[in-house]
Amino acid sequence: MLKNYFKIALAVLKRRKFFTFISLFGISFTLTILMVATAFMDKILSPDYPDYKRIRSLYVSTMEYKNTKEGWMNRSDVSFYFFEHYVSTLKTVQKMAISSNAKASNAYVNNKKLVIEYKYTNADYWNVLEYQFLEGKAFQQREIDNAELVAVISEETKKAYFGDRKTVIGKYISADNINYRVIGVVENVSKTLYNFSGDMYLPYTISKDYKDIDLMGGYNAILLAKSEANVPKMKKEFDQMVKKLPLPKDFDKIYCNADPFFANITRRIAGDGTSNGLTKVVSIISLFTLLFLLLPTINLVNINITRIMERSSEIGVRKAFGASSKTLVYQFIVENLVLTFLGGVIGIILSVIVIHLINGANLISNMHLSMNFTVLFYSLIACIFFGLFSGVYPAWRMSKLNVVKALKAQ
């Protein structure tokens, strides 16, 4: 019976080529966008170079003051002072990777301006994060203590500044008229990991603001626990420490949170001191996805109804010769799954092409998207959702068709 359904499904697809094109285009285009978006989300959310220890880590990046009586607030990144004087005292924090926000500096190569984004980091930054050194090594506590003008640069910066030289260790790179001695070259980091990507990494002791005695500043940190099991304890200890922070003038509340990776992002986008915005962001993404899927689905439902009603004579004949309404619903759902499966295959092929093009065009610096099994799994789920959702209603309507009327319709 299934073979017969497949035969007729393919014949129907061939019969109305324009409808088929519209249906397949709708399905494959929507799936392509979903798959590329999923690949992008997967890139952001899955542990990725150089941040592989997410399971043991909490991320601190915002400090918020509130005046609850007047109703105003102040929100910013965190100061180096806060990490050094408060967070470093926590017993559950095994290591802490501190880095500043990226700042831009100008360098000149053959009279051409080169913008170099640099970050200040501490020594443990290189122990918590697993940067791949192509040559040289990271700066150690000694260089930090001496405030040495040393730099770790990215592979991209090496190529842009030094050209095709084999080794650049010991060479100087001049940014904003300051000469830094290159001591290490690391593999590029995707720009999607904005906390870790940079062109040049410098010891924090050469920054101007690390000594500022303030809770707010321009830094963020990863707190690494001994094990995954210790993460809740670390969070608890962090929260207790925050409660004891001295209140700044004019404010009566301080919020600072140590969040898991994704919650840290959502807090920045849609949250505040009291809420990490996770529910809000997930709801918005789900709603958007649903709406995005709903439009082509409604379109497909309409096309399917037209297609099915065109076949009312066939429905009449099948019913006359013994097909029950249930059997017919089953047949039309199978047919629709054949259509969506074809659309899915085209969608997957298109996604591979689009992802290849995105990677080739380097739209987001050093971001390399890939089609993995997770993406494929979600795509298949989307395909089945499409097939069932857009097939069930037309099939149900058709199964209610009166046999005599169906036969007269021809």
């Binding site: 017969n4 014949a11 004949v317 010769f321 097909a323 059997t327």
Partner: protein, 221 residues
């Protein structure tokens, strides 16, 4: 074989009520070849559809093969149609997207038979109507007479006890019509199949065992 008792069929719209069948009672014996005649709109096809369980009467009782089908569920009705009844329509109602063999196999899809069995039975049915050389053709590649023969093969493939034919020769010229009629007569004679045929053609009707005439929804002969 078929017993109709006081059958009425009323079509209702918002404003009009039309009485299509007005209290018809009819007994059709096993192995009988009955024809129904009457002017257009007199209720012939409606009566045939009611006999074929494709339409429900507004009033009255139908018994087929001693079974009262009035309380059958959709599922049971479908199974009953599949096993007991075969249909032949004036405009053939073949599925143009399927080959001749697949069209004929259609009633067997709703039974528990294997693909091999279906093929054997469908080929045999097509042989009976003289179309064993057209198995791989599509209906659009056949003449009107050939298409109706495919439709007959489809109607008999499941070996039903009753065949209901709604103007089977209506779209054919007299030579083709006679050919189809011969097939039906042979089927009735050799296989003992009960046949009820609606027709406009007096000469075709006279070839059957009994003729029933309708006028304005009532039986007049």
């Amino acid at each position: 074989m078929i017993r109709l008792q006081n059958i009425e069929k009323v079509y209702r719209t918002d404003t009009v009520e039309t009485l299509a069948i007005n209290g018809i009672s009819l007994d059709i014996a096993k192995g009988e070849f009955l024809s129904i005649m009457g002017p257009s709109g007199c209720g012939k096809s409606t009566l045939l559809n009611i006999m074929g369980l494709l339409d429900e009467p507004s009033k009255g009782n139908i018994k087929i093969d001693e079974q009262d089908i009035s309380r059958f569920s959709d599922q049971k009705l479908a199974k009953f149609r599949n096993q007991k009844l075969g249909f032949i329509f004036q405009s053939y109602h073949l599925i143009n997207d399927l080959r001749v063999l697949d069209n004929v196999e259609l009633p067997l899809l709703y039974r528990t038979s294997s693909a091999k069995e279906r093929k054997v039975l469908a080929t045999a049915a097509l042989e009976k109507v003289g179309l064993s050389n057209r198995l791989k053709h599509f209906p659009t590649q056949l003449s009107g007479g050939q298409r109706q023969r495919v439709a007959i093969a489809r109607a008999i493939v499941g070996n039903p006890q009753i065949i209901l034919a709604d103007e089977p020769t209506g779209n054919l010229d007299s030579a083709m019509g006679n050919e189809i009629m011969d097939i039906l007569i042979n089927l009735n004679k050799n296989e003992g199949t009960t046949i009820v045929m609606v027709t406009h053609d007096e000469s075709m009707a006279h070839k059957t065992h009994r003729l029933v005439r309708l006028f304005d929804g009532s039986q007049v002969q």
